[in-house]
């Protein structure tokens, strides 16, 4: 009886007793969810273009963040540092297309997947060699993003809003919206969808596979930079950031590997779900439940919607 009370009654009583805490949880979950959506978007773009789960997306985020901070530490203006990182991301996209993708066109998806694992370790080694392993501080303040926080008094308590979190939500949402429009309404976007469906068919109608791949990897690099900027601001800029990148996996399972709206909805479900579950049900289970709870949600979706909420239904005729 007590256990039923702990599961079905006590958490809701806590929510009512401390509404400010509940709203703080919702806000934190929303911010986290938005950033998860951004992480997932990087995976989605490349999956759409090449049908491969890009294992190197998290390390791209680390590379972008480390490069940004390092350029700045060399005395370069912060916004010129951003431009240099974008240049670096473009060079990387071009290199990946020339060295890896071009040689693996029409190969099995597993081979492409393995190549992204290899790429991950190459980037780790190179980045550590160039930038070293010492954690750095993100330069969000130097870039003009607001720092500090605001309080919203509520029911005798308060909800705290970090200004950098507000910036993260605004910028990440804008980027997601722009990309959603770009890939659904433009010629490149249609080309991307054609490539995702069938490499050979896309080639036969004159779509340049190589060009699409470079564009998509570059855009994934931009997404990685924005993700690295805000996740780096929340803790620090180090190789440990790549762990957070893998949080995109349950988001992708929920939203589907090929859907931009799916990444958004999936991110918010995970962000809000794990936060509220950890605060109100976590202590009952010994805490630290949000890591696996995200996968529980994903598993439930897998059972009922194997392609995710917005994933493309695969029909194979025998």
């Amino acid at each position: 009886m007590e256990i039923l009370h702990m599961i079905f009654i006590a958490p809701f009583l806590d929510m009512v007793a401390l509404p400010d805490l509940f709203f703080q949880g919702l806000w934190d979950g929303f911010v986290g969810g938005t950033l998860y959506a951004l992480l997932a978007l990087g995976f989605v773009l490349i999956f759409k273009a090449s049908g491969v789960f890009n294992f190197s997306q998290p390390i791209l985020m680390v590379l972008a963040a480390l490069a940004l901070v390092s350029f700045y530490e060399m005395g370069i203006n912060p916004w010129i540092s951003v431009a240099l990182v974008l240049l670096l991301m473009y060079a990387l996209a071009y290199g990946v297309e020339r060295v890896i993708l071009r040689n693996l066109v029409n190969q099995d998806g597993n081979i492409l997947f393995m190549s992204t694992i290899g790429l991950t370790f190459v980037i780790i080694g190179a980045a550590q060699w160039i930038f070293g392993g010492v954690p750095r501080s993100m330069i969000h303040a130097e870039l003009g993003f607001p720092v500090g926080s605001s309080e919203w008094p509520m029911f005798g308590g308060a909800v705290y809003f970090e200004h950098i979190d507000i910036s993260a939500v605004v910028l990440a949402s804008s980027l997601i919206a722009i990309l959603a429009v770009f890939f659904s309404k433009t010629k490149i976007g249609r080309g991307l969808r054609a490539v995702a469906d069938d490499h050979q068919a896309a080639l036969s109608v004159g779509i340049s596979l190589n060009q699409i791949w470079v564009i998509v990897w570059f855009v994934a690099g931009i997404v990685a930079l924005v993700g690295g900027l805000f996740w780096g601001a929340r803790s620090d800029v180090s190789f440990a950031l790549q762990i957070i990148g893998l949080k995109a996996l349950p988001v992708l399972i929920i939203g589907g590997f090929t859907s931009v709206p799916g990444a958004i909805i999936g991110g918010l479900i995970i962000g809000l779900g794990e936060k509220i579950f950890e605060i109100y049900w976590g202590p009952m289970m010994g805490g630290s439940v949000e890591g696996w709870f995200a996968y529980v949600i994903a598993l439930v979706f897998l059972l009922f919607k194997p392609q995710g909420l917005f994933g493309e239904k695969i029909i194979e005729r025998v």
């Binding site: 392993g133 010492v134 440990a240 950890e278 976590g282 202590p283």
Partner: protein, 429 residues
């Protein structure tokens, strides 16, 4: 054909004699490192400091007892399986000791040490019960176990606000290292009249601790004690500030109080506290010697501003304890080319008192006095506080609650032994 066989035999003989010569000509001190992976920042500094100290001894003194020291590294990435592989790779090479540099790896190696007769030294980490030398003849965790450290921290809290009736949130990295003090807290809570709220942080959530700190906000503890490592520390301090938790009521253990954990935050981390047993600073004669003989000569991977930082000095201190064990072993056996079994005895004979620490250039560090029965030294800690720019020592040395910890360590050691039939112990009476 016969010529070939003779030639091969000569070559093999030469090889064997060369290998034997190499055993005789150096003191092999392998240490497991993690220069890559999520904890690379901390691991790199520790690895550099250990190597730097032995390089300094080689440069300044010609090694130890006339033999050069080879502080060979093996990279684990902080992964227990790789740690075991590293350990196995030193079989037959006469390593004088093993330095796992990870509690997870230590737990794996503890069982192998008695069979291979090579001591394991885990300064400030590892299994607390290894403090009991009779049960763990081959393991040493000078200068204090995690359990001793926890009682020193509780003593400090008691002296500040009193402990009875207080609620303490224990925020810990969810793994072997972070869980290590839990059995102690189970015993101490009813005995000392305080309450704990245990809040684990999964490794994957080290940078994403919003939920944990909302739980802390919900629970309203009087103090937060942290057993964190790597990026978990800096994230926790950031979240504490964000949650408006008073930072002077937030105290980390000695692995949560490095420069790397707060330097990037600057004034935002002002007030945060941590325990320590190795003071920061570049004025110590030993640090100056390392700078003069190693860093200035470019014989290291250490960046020039690293010597003097908390974690760098800690690893220097780790290296001096290792060196003292070798010196004691050489004194005991009367030979320079000692073995792991000799060094084990050397560890038990260590007498790093204040006079010896001063002689070695470590004045102000925690003394380490070893014995057959006591492999932790029951060392004291002090509390340091971040002033926005640097760590400041704010207390004298705080001894552990020996009367409380020692029986619990004995109980834990006995439990460990009872789970391992045929476990090799020693008699210290």
């Amino acid at each position: 054909m016969k010529k070939h066989i003779i030639g091969a035999a000569v070559a093999l003989g030469t090889l064997i004699s060369t290998v034997s010569m190499s055993f005789a000509e150096e003191l092999l001190v392998p240490h497991l490192t993690y220069r890559v992976g999520p904890f690379a920042a901390n691991g790199t500094m520790g690895a550099n400091a250990i190597t730097d100290y032995f390089t300094m001894l080689n440069e300044r003194d010609g090694g130890i007892g006339g033999l050069k020291v080879n502080p060979e590294e093996c990279e684990t990435g902080y992964n227990a399986q790789k740690g075991v592989e590293c350990y196995e790779s030193y079989r037959g090479k006469n390593p004088l000791m093993h330095i796992p540099n990870s509690t997870g790896i230590t737990l794996q190696l503890l069982q192998k040490a008695p069979e291979d007769e090579v001591p394991i030294f885990t300064m400030g980490y590892g299994l607390s019960a290894a403090a009991k030398g009779e049960t763990f003849p081959w393991a040493f965790n000078y200068p204090a176990s995690y359990w001793s450290q926890m009682t020193s921290i509780l003593s400090y809290i008691d002296s500040e606000t009193g402990l009875k009736g207080k609620k303490i949130a224990f925020l810990y990295l969810d793994g072997g290292y972070g869980r290590e003090p839990l059995p102690l807290l189970d015993k101490l809570e009813p005995k000392m009249g305080f309450e704990t709220v245990r809040i684990p942080v999964a490794f994957a959530d080290s940078q994403n601790q919003g939920s944990q700190w909302l739980t802390i906000r919900k629970e309203k503890p009087d103090w937060v004690i942290m057993w964190g490592w790597g990026v978990m520390n800096i994230t926790a301090v950031k979240e504490a500030a964000k949650t408006r938790f008073p930072l002077d009521r937030f105290i980390g253990n000695w692995w949560s109080g490095g420069h790397v954990d707060v330097e990037a935050l600057g004034m935002k981390a002002k007030g945060y506290k941590a325990s320590n047993f190795t003071p920061a600073g570049r004025d110590f004669p030993v640090v100056q010697d390392v700078i003069k003989h190693v860093v200035s000569k470019g014989l290291t991977k250490t960046e020039p501003d690293m010597p003097g930082k908390v974690l760098y000095n800690r690893s220097l201190f780790m290296a001096v304890v290792m060196a003292e064990a070798i010196i004691e072993a050489q004194k005991l056996t009367g030979k320079a080319n000692v073995t792991g079994a000799d060094v084990r005895k050397g560890f038990e004979m260590i007498k790093l008192d204040e006079a010896r620490l001063k002689e070695l250039g470590f004045e102000g560090f925690t003394p380490v006095i070893g014995s057959c029965a006591d492999h932790e030294g029951q060392g004291s800690i002090f509390v340091q506080q971040w002033n926005g720019k640097d760590w400041e020592k704010i207390t004298d040395f705080i001894p552990p609650m020996t009367d409380i910890v020692q029986p619990l360590l004995t109980e834990a050691a006995d439990t460990y032994k009872s789970d391992k039939p045929g476990w090799k112990t020693q008699n210290c009476s």
